[in-house]
Point group: none
Chain length 233, copies 2
DNA sequence: CGAAGTTGTGACAAAAATATGACAATAGTG
DNA sequence: CACTATTGTCATATTTTTGTCACAACTTCG
């Protein structure tokens, strides 16, 4: 597995080193930049898979950099995690609105940091599968963006489509509503967990011909699971 | 609310006292050990919820103790926070790799320490084993959140699931109803001990195909034990 | 054996979790 | 801009889980 490259942008060398070490342990490659200017160049040159960005920096602030990244086509899809010392909510909101994929408040543990990074990268990867997926009589075709059962086309909303896509690529495993929100809704969401229930319901309805949907199973107290293994009543 | 117990391992009494005071203020119970040897014994006897471990100690070093804890089934799940005076990179790497859940560099403020402890405990609480566990014909898979016997899926409530998870990760040892309440119900519960009996009953019923459950043994006057060793009548 | 203490068992009502349908706000579309 | 599809939230039904109790079964010990 070729390792991901992560760019750390912070003006304090000590913090950069600390993070660098943690990333190293976790098997990530690490680049460093000490200001937004430098960072911008490195993102274009090196195309890192993720940017860790300190919120408070002298000169151009973190949020400013994010805005610039958003405008720039070359860098539009780089996920960004903000590091921030403040916990004030408006900062979070600002940060998230401006396009950061996640944020983590200092001080943080290396573990927590790595966990966030993993989560965000996983999210970024959760793109559509490249190949059609067939389970039972259900055919999911990401190319034509279509779902059929026995060649009968199924209609569903975009959210249900992403949800199904997620489930198909993550079968046999339980995900909490939180995790599902993370993966399917794209991370920086403040949303009621119960929304997931409703969309599960809609998806179930959509992909269940003749009554039953055997695929999406409810795991009480834990979440949902997509499974092709038949559960007998 | 019954409080968590934390074991402080450091060779300097002054530091132990300082930490002890901080823990006290924060509402944690505190145990102390001055070397790795002593610590190991206390972990087994007292089952602390977390270990604060000084990196540099005369004799067996902190990292050595962590390694030992990892190997030992009885202590495998105790979270560890390393205290270290050094910020040198290799220390951190070693510490993290060896299985410490976090580390904090001296000198630290009591407040920072407590914050870390809270974070790690919160993390530890939610955690299930990551690997499937098989005993005999019983398979416990935390990933799919499934329990099967001979590939036959077993249904049980969330509490039974947690209870089974606890037993599987703490086999061959007797736990009182109190301790079981603590571990499975999540600590600060005020509940009738006899409730445990009922859930034991439910779990037994669930995981016993064809009559017998040989796993969960009653130890009269003491509690229950999960054991794979067959006890003949 | 009988008394006193522990543990097993089934029942049950309260509580918690999930399913479902409806609706207003929003985003897309032509 | 009007029109439709989609979405998130809520209120309400339905289902499952859970803690407790009453009583049965069992142990221990005199």
């Amino acid at each position: 597995m070729n390792s991901k490259t992560i760019l750390v942008v912070d003006d304090e060398p000590a913090i950069r080193d600390m993070i660098s070490t943690a990333l190293d342990v976790a098997g990530y490659d690490c680049l460093q930049a000490e200001n937004a200017q430098q960072a911008h160049g490195m993102i274009i040159d090196e195309q890192p898979d993720l940017v860790l960005l300190d919120w408070m920096m002298p000169g151009t602030s973190g949020i400013e950099l994010i805005r610039r990244l958003q405008r720039d086509d070359l860098t539009k899809n780089v996920p960004v995690i903000m590091l921030t010392a403040k916990t004030a909510e408006d900062n979070m909101v600002q940060g998230l609105e401006s396009g950061a994929d996640d944020f983590i408040t200092k001080p943080f543990s290396p573990r927590a940091l790595i966990a966030r990074i993993n989560a965000v990268l996983r999210r970024a990867e959760a793109e559509l599968p490249q190949e059609p997926i067939q389970v039972d009589r259900l055919l999911f075709d990401p190319i034509s963006h279509r779902v059929t059962i026995d060649n009968q086309p199924i209609t569903m909303g975009p959210t249900e489509f992403r949800l199904l896509s997620f489930f198909l690529t993550h079968q046999e495993r339980v995900y909490s509503r939180d995790q599902i929100l993370d993966h399917v809704w794209g991370g920086n969401v403040y949303m009621d967990e119960r929304t997931v229930d409703v969309h599960i319901r809609r998806l179930r309805k959509a992909i269940s011909l003749e009554g039953h949907d055997r695929f999406i199973q409810t795991v009480r107290g834990a979440g949902y699971r997509f499974s092709t293994k038949v559960v007998e009543e």
